[in-house]
Symmetry: C2
Subunit: 419 residues, 2 copies
Amino acid sequence: MSKDKRWGVSMTDDLFANRVRSEVPSRLNGMFPQMDFPDAIKFTAGSPAEDLFPRKEMAQAFADAVATEGNYTFQYHTVTGPQSLREKLAKRATEKMQIENIDADNVMLTAGGQQGIDLVAKMLLNRGDSMVVEAPTYVGALSSFDMYEPKYYAVQLQSDGMDLDQLETTLKAHPEIKFLYTVSDFHNPGGVTLSVEKRQRLVELANRYNFIILEDSPYRDLRYVGKSLPTIKHFDTEGRVIFLSSFSKILMPTLRTGWLVASKRIVKQLLKLKEAADLEVPNLTASAINQYLEKNDLDAHIDQLNKEYAKRQWAMAKGIRNYLPKEVKATCPDGGFFTWVTVPDYIDTTELLYDHATPEEHIAYVPSKNFYAYKECTNGMRLNFTGLTPVQIDEGMERLGRVLKEAIARNQSSISVEN
Amino acid sequence: MSKDKRWGVSMTDDLFANRVRSEVPSRLNGMFPQMDFPDAIKFTAGSPAEDLFPRKEMAQAFADAVATEGNYTFQYHTVTGPQSLREKLAKRATEKMQIENIDADNVMLTAGGQQGIDLVAKMLLNRGDSMVVEAPTYVGALSSFDMYEPKYYAVQLQSDGMDLDQLETTLKAHPEIKFLYTVSDFHNPGGVTLSVEKRQRLVELANRYNFIILEDSPYRDLRYVGKSLPTIKHFDTEGRVIFLSSFSKILMPTLRTGWLVASKRIVKQLLKLKEAADLEVPNLTASAINQYLEKNDLDAHIDQLNKEYAKRQWAMAKGIRNYLPKEVKATCPDGGFFTWVTVPDYIDTTELLYDHATPEEHIAYVPSKNFYAYKECTNGMRLNFTGLTPVQIDEGMERLGRVLKEAIARNQSSISVEN
């Protein structure tokens, strides 16, 4: 705590708090390599397709918000944002997420899903407190959690979601764990979905071992195969699950509007934290979303997105089959934005990206290292398929296939040389 | 740090972090009493006048942002927001705030001034770190700072800003102080402005005692008398001053757009914290502000505001002279939103508000207690004059005069009884 009076390159650096003084650069640094080739194909960003934005409808919704609510919507109000939007979201949560017995006061609007993650961490974590994340997990969540300086326990992701046997062993050994973060549907970056059985068991574990679950589900509506599963929150019996969603993937990122459903006690604490962080919801934006929902069929729009994204997901699945060497494994997601690829463990995907994939084939992906609390996995990669057309995906996967085959060949020839 | 396994009314309360477990309710609680009388006059909120919002122009600016930048502005980008808006603000900072030698990368966009305050505190404060606030100070800043659990040192506000002799004594006794927060122009809630001499001396103290200054100046453009002073940041020689402004008071609160000017090293740290908190600036809103600034004369709009607010400030000054008892002192601000009233110390303004002002005269103000880190001052009140017409202000001040005269009379009769 004592102020260190070093006078170095910058005179103010010694005044920074521990949370920002760390030698480790931002977790988001280096995730997206610079690549300006005209034929570049980027599987990196988690962006929705721009040409599918409901641009005309949202522009009209902003105009309607100004016209009908006038100056009221421009003024300071309260941290909660419009009651009528929260009512609509409570209804949607019951109909689409099977979250029963809630009303508008169980719903909180946030500045994107990211603020929901940040405020939940701020509510729960003292420095050094223990929490569970998946391995791999959403990198933006790690960058929020880092700021509250927790101790991480990482639980492996399996094809049906996190390994609950490993989780239970961890909970027995570390009963001080108070918080668990999971992406339940179409995992970012893993592409997998938590099974119904595991959802139920996870809530039982939370009750038995006394922790809170943040169920982050921004991709839930974007399902291309099969039927939606009930949320983890659906099985919640003790107000331990916070369900988090967002308009960024189904309408537009620029709305910076997420929403969460939680017990009223928890919502009350989170509102106090939001007030301290940015005072209140931007009412014009919230009113515009409310207008959009009144005058348009959101689910019809989502159906359109799903039709197009299914083609892109399919192009990627075909690309994996047609071009990637047999030593490589990949998840086949039922929805969402991402496929996860696992390569032989002698390949470091960060080195491969900078030494071969980008300079030689003009493609980019996000290396696995970025998605682990302790950066321990170096032989995976996240591929986004929603931001590219099927033709671009096919071409990009062919190039990725070449990069991987050459890496495997290099390894085999180096083994021959050693022998 | 250990998890407390109490099973009480709510099963999750024992999992909350220290920062939200405190018994003290939110600092903003009880600041604005419920009052639904048809003749109510509220001096409480720090709201700009709704009828002066540039509603038509901002609606056009949103339409222009959609039309000219199309889908680009709806997509994910980076945490920084549009370069061309930050360029305009750097230019404005030089022309209007006398902050020289800066460019767009010294400027950061925030979710209202509030987020600027929150992120600076998050950048600097470990739990238990020492900081200086003014007494009184902006209550929303205290609610941000509280979340990082600092030790506060409060320095008295004088008619020309904070008492720098008291500050220097405090710094000598507590050299571990690393952060000072001040509202430099038309203080909220104090109504006073820091003198030029004190601005210069404050920077010298920061250099000598190694701390960072957050200069919060959301009211700076709203000056009704005299000429603007150079900012504290103008005198900064070592990158120790962070200057914070906002569009909430000069355009509209709903834009939720503040901006700050700081050294590039500090901006870099703050951007990392913003990314973790809410990912990025809402580009549609930022583009709309950019469009507004390109097609409208912001300073002409500010002149209009100043013309009207000057009348309201004048109505309040007259009301103080005409109606308030001579035992009462009040500041006479040259700009901004607030007048600060000091009453005899035997009057508790919180009790007076709930027992007399609201039920008997249907008026409300914010009691002084709310503006002190340790709630030590009970005989002051903050009066807002921008949210009411001159006629309402005159009527409200007449009622406040009656409330105060009666309180003084009650005290005198109780003294007579005791004698």
